[in-house]
């Protein structure tokens, strides 16, 4: 079959557009993920104040942690998107869990962090989704149910939570790793973990969950863990031209 020059160019352009728009399959067999992008979801906000943390609403603590985490991740070269940048006005409609997950899913980030705080427990609690792992490998032609969207990313999420847990343990921070059914975590199509900061009791010294130094320390440790996890799981692609001698 002979093609004219203009037809060949047209086919090449279409091929390039298709390659650019179709989700690329990553090394892990999962859809393309932007290795430099992290989505943070500071829970609650606006009328939803969350738990009462010694007089301070949970929504403020989660926002503080997200702000610190954004700064620490940005300093490590990440682009960070947050589902809320400030507290929502009381008159504004609540940010739904579907909107939070939708924000993350549209951006195809390398990692998603759902941020909570509590008065129960000690140190940092880390969670992956409690959904069951899929029995078959990911098939791009099969629709993923919204309720179980996180299930195909469970392995990557477990590696992320392991990396974050290790960083905290190395810093002698009490850490508890568990699984939970939580929205929007279960609906996220990215390696995702939920993080719950609790008051810290260490060597007889108690630190409130609202303590800014404690929050900053946790943010720094997590940012480092995310970076080392990203470098191991999603290594930088080799330059197209190969290595120059």
């Amino acid at each position: 079959m002979n093609l004219s020059g203009s037809q060949t160019v047209r086919r090449l352009v279409l091929l390039l557009i298709a390659a650019w728009t179709c989700p690329a399959i990553g090394q892990s067999g999962l859809p393309y993920m932007n290795r430099n992008l992290v989505v943070l979801d500071p829970a609650h906000g606006g009328q939803d104040k969350g738990a009462d943390l010694n007089g301070e609403p949970e929504k403020d603590v989660t926002l503080d942690l997200a702000t610190d985490l954004r700064a620490a991740l940005t300093a490590r070269g990440f682009t960070v998107v947050s589902t809320r940048e400030a507290d929502l006005p009381a008159s504004a409609p609540l940010l739904t869990n579907e909107q939070r997950a939708g924000t993350a899913n549209h951006l195809r980030p390398a990692a998603c962090l759902v941020i909570h705080a509590t008065m129960q427990g000690n140190g940092v609690h880390l969670f992956t989704s409690a959904l069951a792992a899929p029995v078959t490998a990911y098939d791009p032609s099969t629709p993923i149910p919204w309720e179980d969207a996180q299930s195909i990313y469970l392995l990557q999420s477990q590696r992320l939570v392991n990396s974050a847990g290790l960083a905290l343990v190395h810093a002698k921070m009490p850490v508890l790793i568990s699984r939970a059914n939580l929205r929007p975590l279960d609906n996220m199509t990215c390696p995702a973990i939920a993080l719950e900061v609790a008051p810290l009791t260490q060597e007889g010294k108690k630190t409130a969950v609202t303590d800014s130094g404690y929050i900053q320390h946790v943010a720094d440790l997590l940012a480092g863990a995310i970076q080392s996890w990203r470098d191991a799981e999603l290594p930088r692609p080799a330059p197209a031209g190969g290595v120059t001698p």
Partner: protein, 214 residues
Amino acid sequence: MIPRYQRIAFWVLAGAILLMAAFTIHARQRVHERIAQANDAMPYVAPVNAQTESVTLELANDADGSILSALRDVALPQEPSMRAKALLERLFAEYSQPDSMHPLRAGPKVDDVFLLKAPTAPASSDLDSAGMIAVVNLRSSFADTHPSGIEVETLTIQSIIGTLHANLPQITEVRFLVDGQQRETLAGHADLLRTYPAVDTSFQPTAPTENPPQ
């Protein structure tokens, strides 16, 4: 000049009013104490005609995030939904004890447990053997006062599911309502809209390892 008999009648009536007021206050106090005792959620009182049997409770521990099985002797009704409710009341009685590792405020927590045939169960099967969905109708007074947090709420949910699964194996799925209505979360975190598979929920958290999960 007020006649003498009117003065006497006045003071007699005034005295009667004071006595009635004192009696009313005393009676109110007694009723209040009786209700408080009824809400104390102490161990389940055995029905006269029920046999005591050994049941497995999946008990949560806030300190290490674990859920471990424990055996208790309890008298339970035979009717499955009443049995499920009695089991959960017994479970929550454990959490209302002062030394509980997963402390929850005392008081009634479960309104009803409904057992429905699961859509996947064969039409000919009876309720005792078929796959059943347990719909646990919690009280809003319980959900509203439950400690808030992913860990503590998840432990409560998993403890309920595990206890039902361990003692009523015909239950295959568990759903939750609060005061008969759907509710997004227990206390702001754990998902209550999801249908949970009834599985063994005993769990011991693992420490992070240098070798990532494969």
